[in-house]
Amino acid sequence: MTDSSSFGNETFSVRVSRTPNGRYIIASGELDGAEAESVQSLIDDATPSERVTLDVSELTFIDSMGLRMLVDWHRRLHQLGGKLVIQHPSVPVERVLAATQLDRILHVDGSSSPT
């Protein structure tokens, strides 16, 4: 059984699906300082050992504020015994993760998708 929801605007949107195995989030568009704040609380209700998969294949931009949100999610889920998996980073996301060396800290699954 899957429970889904979505929200966003013309430049950024997220789709969230919940399954018994965890949460699957697809982020699309530009994740910047204006948007990071609005999605920060998306995992506030995370349960112990929950796995959150964040698909960023449709993300065309991410800045330091977006990256800080990912690091915050990573830490919070880790503290709960869970895990954040960044899945299929787009080329722009992959480049920024490499430049900041956050690809060594965050769990990144899958190479960049064609853009």
Binding site: T11, D32, G33, A34, L67, P92, R95, A99
Partner: protein, 136 residues
């Protein structure tokens, strides 16, 4: 486009998008490829974000970010100032890593000013720094 291009925006995150769009347009005029345009908009975004995160807004003045683009030898020099603001913190490690990776050099100065040099040669493929289709 002349010797210098200026943009003034309200000092908030939603308007930083306007600076990104402007940087993308300017980079396109200078002949930047897609990857370089991505880098250019990330640089301008980080410069603005550093000022929004690390300086306090002016008490009795309009809170604005003034962005200036101009040619400086083999680089495109970008200067962003939050007028009448006071520096209250240092840039985050993530912001520093991004600017270190994408700029020849950059500095965050008292007076709430960030200056960065983006190398033109890497972006336009011209070792002399001469631009392909435009000039700043």
């Amino acid at each position: 486009v002349g010797t210098q291009m200026e943009l003034v925006i309200p000092a908030d995150h939603p308007h930083v998008r306007v600076a990104r769009l402007t940087a993308t347009g300017l980079g396109s005029l200078l002949g930047f490829d897609v990857e370089s345009l991505d880098e250019m908009r990330l640089v301008i975004d980080e410069m603005c974000s550093v000022l929004l995160e690390c300086s306090s807004p002016p008490a009795d003045q309009p809170d604005r970010l003034a962005v200036v683009f101009r040619r400086a030898g083999p680089a495109l020099r970008i200067r962003v100032e939050r007028s009448h603001a006071e520096v209250v913190a240092a840039p985050s490690a993530i912001s520093r890593a991004i600017l270190d990776a994408l700029c020849d050099r950059w500095a965050f100065m008292q007076g709430a000013i960030v200056v960065a040099d983006v190398p033109l040669a890497r972006h336009t493929g011209d070792a002399t720094g001469n631009t392909a289709t435009g000039e700043v």
